[in-house]
Amino acid sequence: MTAPENLNNGIRSLESSLGEDLRSELQATDVAVPAAADAAARAVIRSRAAEIRRAAGRRHRHLWPVWAAAAALLLAAGTWLALSRGKSPLAGDIDRSGRVDIVDAYLLARRINEGGKLEARWDITGDGKVNRGDVEAVATRAVSIEGR
């Protein structure tokens, strides 16, 4: 016997033993609700509907803290970025003065000449090295933005 046949037979067998009791248990001829009971239930429903409206309104209001938190987060991120930029000056701003000028080119040239410690951020040309090429790049940038 196949599985579907087994299932069908099983259902038939169970329905023949339980069906009558289940129908008797579950089928109820709908009885009209008496007027007084209906009025009382409607009063409950009106009251609940008002509470749902209030709760739904509160839900929307409850979203404000979420939006406020998101805005605060964005503001904090913006501030952090701005501060980060302050800490990490413009490319070529060797002395972190907030501007790139000829002094930066001079300082970088002197550091290279002295064989002092070189920072990766001074790699202005992006060739992976800090050398004379970067001094020239800083000088060029200093001239082009001098006075800004």
Binding site: I11, D21, E25, L26, Q27, V31, A32, A41, R48
Partner: protein, 172 residues
């Protein structure tokens, strides 16, 4: 005017639309009251059940999501509230009688409705449609938009569970 479906009414009720709440109530009140009357056995308790069931139901809003037929969702509530009120009335009645502590208690028949209410929702839904509304299996499949094989398998599981509980020897 088109009739709004339960899901549509529930969406409106979730926003506190009183008219949607009333339409849902009007759609199911007679069924709830009749089932309650059947279990509780008297009109006063059935009226209380009616109020409590809809108070419970609308207490789920806002945020209520209907994942089955509404009768399937309401049925356990109707039965449990009706049984609670019926039992309370019985206790009150027995308090007024002189109890006979040695009188043997007649064994209580397993309550089929209670067992149906305790079935998993997916099985209860099929059993209610099959025996409560006398639908054929293909009609149930069409109503619930599920394969006929799923209907059969859930019905079989549900009925087998009921049979098992009814046949189990009573404790004590």
């Amino acid at each position: 005017m088109t009739t709004r479906g339960d899901q549509e009414l529930i969406a409106s009720a979730n926003r506190g639309d009183e008219s949607a709440c009333e339409q849902l109530y009007e759609r199911y009140r007679d069924w709830v009251y009749s089932q309650a009357l059947k279990v509780a056995g008297n009109a006063d308790d059935a009226a209380d059940v009616l109020q409590e069931v809809f108070f419970y139901f609308f207490g789920k809003f806002p945020g209520f999501e209907l994942r089955c037929q509404l009768k399937t969702f309401l049925y356990p509530a109707v039965r449990n509230i009706a049984i609670r009120l019926r039992d309370r009335r019985r206790r009150l009645a027995t308090m007024e009688e002189v109890p006979d502590p040695v009188a043997p208690r007649a064994p209580e028949r397993p309550d089929l409705g209670h067992l149906v209410a305790a079935l998993p929702e997916a099985q209860r839904e099929i059993v209610l449609l099959r025996f409560g509304e006398d639908l054929k299996l293909d009609e149930i499949a069409s109503r619930l938009d599920i394969p006929l094989g799923t209907v059969k398998s859930r019905l079989h599981k549900g009925l087998a569970t009921l049979r098992e509980h009814l046949d189990a020897p009573e404790d004590g």
